[in-house]
């Protein structure tokens, strides 16, 4: 890759700093592999069908993709002015003020941690049949989850972000398998004609649409990370937006296609019942019927590696959040420490792992279901939290640009972000009203009130903490939202 003509002749500094920088494919690869496409399709989509029984998911992926693309216009524009660009609370701090920023930080910690912990459930549940087939013993899911937990703990602390090349190979294999499964589904329709209804916008106006939107958002989580590479990219103004839009488009396309073809192969009328019966095995049983056991087994293995990659990625995201807050001293200073040997965010990583261990142990003791009660509930709780954060961030973008000097066009600073904010507020309203449908519990079940309220509690605690800091530690209060660039006081 050449980078000539972008710096004045003789400027060795710019040339040296620009060399070895990331381009669009590298950033997009990173984002997509963190999202773990196969874990979403085999895990989230099937469980979503099983729990909600609604068939409009394919069109929901397309709609959410479009909304996120609109959101990304203002988001990537504002990212260039942010110190800790990967974290939503940074945007909220600069748009809506520091108290709102701390509230958003608490909410983000809850959201990312619940997604990470949820993945232990699917990892365990999906590994059980595979190990049973290979070793002839049926292990409990939590034992496998504990092995994964130990690996995440070790890799998190040794700062082995899975090697980029390994991730790229896994991602390409995952997408190849997904498309192969899709093709097989297409040639083995359940009914005489293809089930087009799931792709019609009319499917969106079914009751329980809010549930679909949260499930779809969960599939996209990770797209917000492209902006982290701003300083690492060849041309931040071009690379980061392009990588973000590309990731959103690929995710939306692949998920919509696969979730639709799943219905084509099983039949819209049966999909919920089949998904309830086969759970995370649904697409692999289909694949075994269509193409034989070898392909299905390859799919199962990739499902597990994909889940693991996502698990490690969300672990690192949570640990970095805690680290940034520790550097700002919003959390105790100890969270801002790193391991000497590897430079991993030590305390954040350990804290996240403690939470993971606690959740696995509690679920094992209470005998709760790893797929629905851990993976699906945890995942949707996280997905809902991301929806809340996206909404608050979208509101923050135009406010920030209205108050601060910038050189961005109005479409990026006003029109697109305001439109995205309005749509996201509507989506959030739908999600809250349809939370019982999302969880598959009867209307009025306390769980449907308790889970979304957790974000309210997190936000209130964040606000209180911010006001405490403002009163008692004004120096720290001033540097909220600065990330690692915060000045130690």
């Amino acid at each position: 890759m050449t980078t000539q003509h972008r710096h004045p002749p003789g400027d060795r500094i710019t040339a040296a700093l620009a060399a070895n920088r990331l381009g669009v494919p590298a950033v997009a690869f990173f984002v997509l592999s963190a999202a773990g496409p196969l874990s979403v399709i085999a895990g989230v989509v099937t469980t979503g069908y099983a729990v909600t029984g609604i068939t409009g998911l394919p069109i929901a992926f397309l709609v959410v993709g479009a909304v996120l693309a609109l959101f990304a216009v203002g988001y990537v524009a504002m990212a260039r002015y942010m110190a800790n660009a990967g974290a939503f609370y940074t945007y909220v701090t600069h748009g809506l003020g520091r108290p709102a920023g701390v509230a958003a930080a608490w909410g983000a910690l809850l959201a990312y941690n619940s997604i990470q912990v949820a993945l232990y459930g699917v990892f365990g549940a999906a590994s059980v049949p595979l190990l049973a087939a290979w070793l002839g013993v049926t292990l409990p899911w939590w034992l496998i989850a504990l092995v994964a937990w130990a690996l995440v703990l070790a890799l998190g602390l040794s700062r082995v972000d899975l090697n980029g090349r390994v991730l790229a190979v896994l991602l390409i294999a995952e997408i190849a398998v997904i498309l192969l499964f899709d093709l097989a589904d297409l040639f083995h329709p359940a009914g005489p004609s293809l089930a087009w209804e799931a792709l019609s916008p009319a499917a969106l106006f079914s009751p329980g649409i809010g549930a679909l939107l949260v499930i779809a958002i969960l599939g996209f989580v990770g797209f917000e990370a492209a902006v982290v590479f701003s300083e690492e990219s060849r041309d931040p103004r071009r690379t980061i937006p392009a990588a973000t839009y590309l990731s959103v488009a690929v995710i939306a396309g692949v998920y919509a296609l696969s979730s639709w073809l799943m219905q084509v192969a099983i039949g819209p009328a049966n999909i919920a019942a089949v998904a309830r019966r086969d759970s995370a095995e649904t697409i692999f049983i289909l694949a075994a019927d269509h193409m034989g056991d070898v392909i299905a087994t390859i799919g199962r293995v990739l499902f597990i590696t994909s889940t693991f990659a996502a698990m490690l990625s969300f672990h690192n995201t949570s640990a970095r959040y805690l680290f940034a807050l520790g550097r700002e001293r919003v959390l105790p200073e100890v969270f801002g420490r790193t391991t000497a040997r590897t430079g991993a965010p030590k305390t954040g990583s350990i804290a996240q792992s403690c939470l993971g261990l606690l959740v696995i142990v509690v679920y094992a003791i209470l005998g709760l279901d790893p797929m629905v009660q851990l993976f699906y509930f945890g995942g949707t709780l996280g997905g809902f939290g991301i929806l809340v954060l996206l909404t608050v961030t979208a509101i923050s973008v135009p406010i920030y640009f209205a108050r601060n000097p910038h050189t961005e066009p109005r479409t990026h600073t006003l029109f697109a972000p305001v439109a995205a904010a309005v749509i996201l507020v509507v989506m959030l309203g739908l999600a809250i009203t349809n939370f019982a449908t999302l969880l598959g519990v009867p209307e009025g079940d306390p769980l449907a009130v308790i889970l979304p309220s957790l974000y309210g509690i997190a936000a209130v605690l964040g606000l209180i903490w911010a006001f405490v800091l403002q009163r008692l530690r004004p120096g720290i209060y001033q540097q909220i939202g600065q990330g690692a660039k915060a000045v130690a006081s």
Partner: protein, 223 residues
């Protein structure tokens, strides 16, 4: 305090950050060491009166020759690129070469030898003290700092900045590795760092920010 010839700041820092007496391995992740050494090389020019830190920017204030070839080459780069004055830019630029350049200076001064691993040649080399005659000098900097912190002895100017850089890159827990002396050592370190002159404090803070930022921007990952 010291009766030995004073080493340049970056050399001192290298000897704190690298276990040159036993394992020959770094005591801190290479990225943190490199950023701190880059900061130390800039500070050497500040000490030599060639460079100043004004409002968070680097300004060349004297172009007269400096004796040390490494310092001279850094100064030449700064003079050749007046359009770049931001400290983070210079830290990022110098980071890739800093460790090797400072090690080369220590080698040419006869303090260290470089051992390239025979297998896996692209792995990072080990650095050990060159001979028994220089063992004391090579092992001295971390002992000196530890002694100052634990016994609350007054700290000379150069060691003040050395401590600031050590702390900025995350080496303090390595230096105060004995839990019994950590608390008192850290308290005294905080006192010492408060006395650091403002321009040096800016440099150290920028090193801390760059090291922390590397944690948040996945700097270990390359596709």
């Amino acid at each position: 305090m010291t009766s030995r010839p004073v080493l340049p700041l970056a050399d001192d820092l290298f000897l704190v950050a690298w276990d040159v007496t036993i394992s020959g391995q770094p005591r801190l992740h290479p990225h943190g060491i490199a950023l701190a050494l880059a900061g130390a090389l800039l500070t050497e020019l500040v000490f030599a009166g060639r460079l100043a830190v004004r409002e968070e920017q680097l300004v060349v204030v004297g172009r007269g020759a400096v004796q040390d070839p490494l310092a001279a080459s850094v100064l030449a780069e700064l003079v050749a690129h007046p359009q770049h004055t931001s400290i983070p830019t210079w830290l990022a630029y110098m980071e890739s070469q800093a460790t090797t350049m400072v090690a080369d200076r220590l080698i040419s001064d006869g303090l260290l030898v470089r051992e390239q691993p025979r297998l896996l040649r692209n792995r990072q080399p080990r650095y050990r003290y060159a001979s028994r005659a220089v063992f004391g000098r090579a092992a001295w900097p971390p002992e000196r700092l530890r002694g100052c912190l634990v016994a609350h002895r007054p700290v000379p100017d150069q060691d003040m900045m050395l401590l600031a850089l050590v702390d900025a890159c995350g080496l303090t827990p390595v230096l105060l590795n004995d839990p019994a002396m950590r608390r008192t050592g850290e308290a005294y370190l905080a006192t010492v760092l408060r006395a650091l002159p403002a321009p040096l404090s800016v440099l150290a803070r920028q090193v801390r920010a760059a090291v922390g930022n590397a944690v948040l921007t996945y700097r270990t990952r390359r596709l």
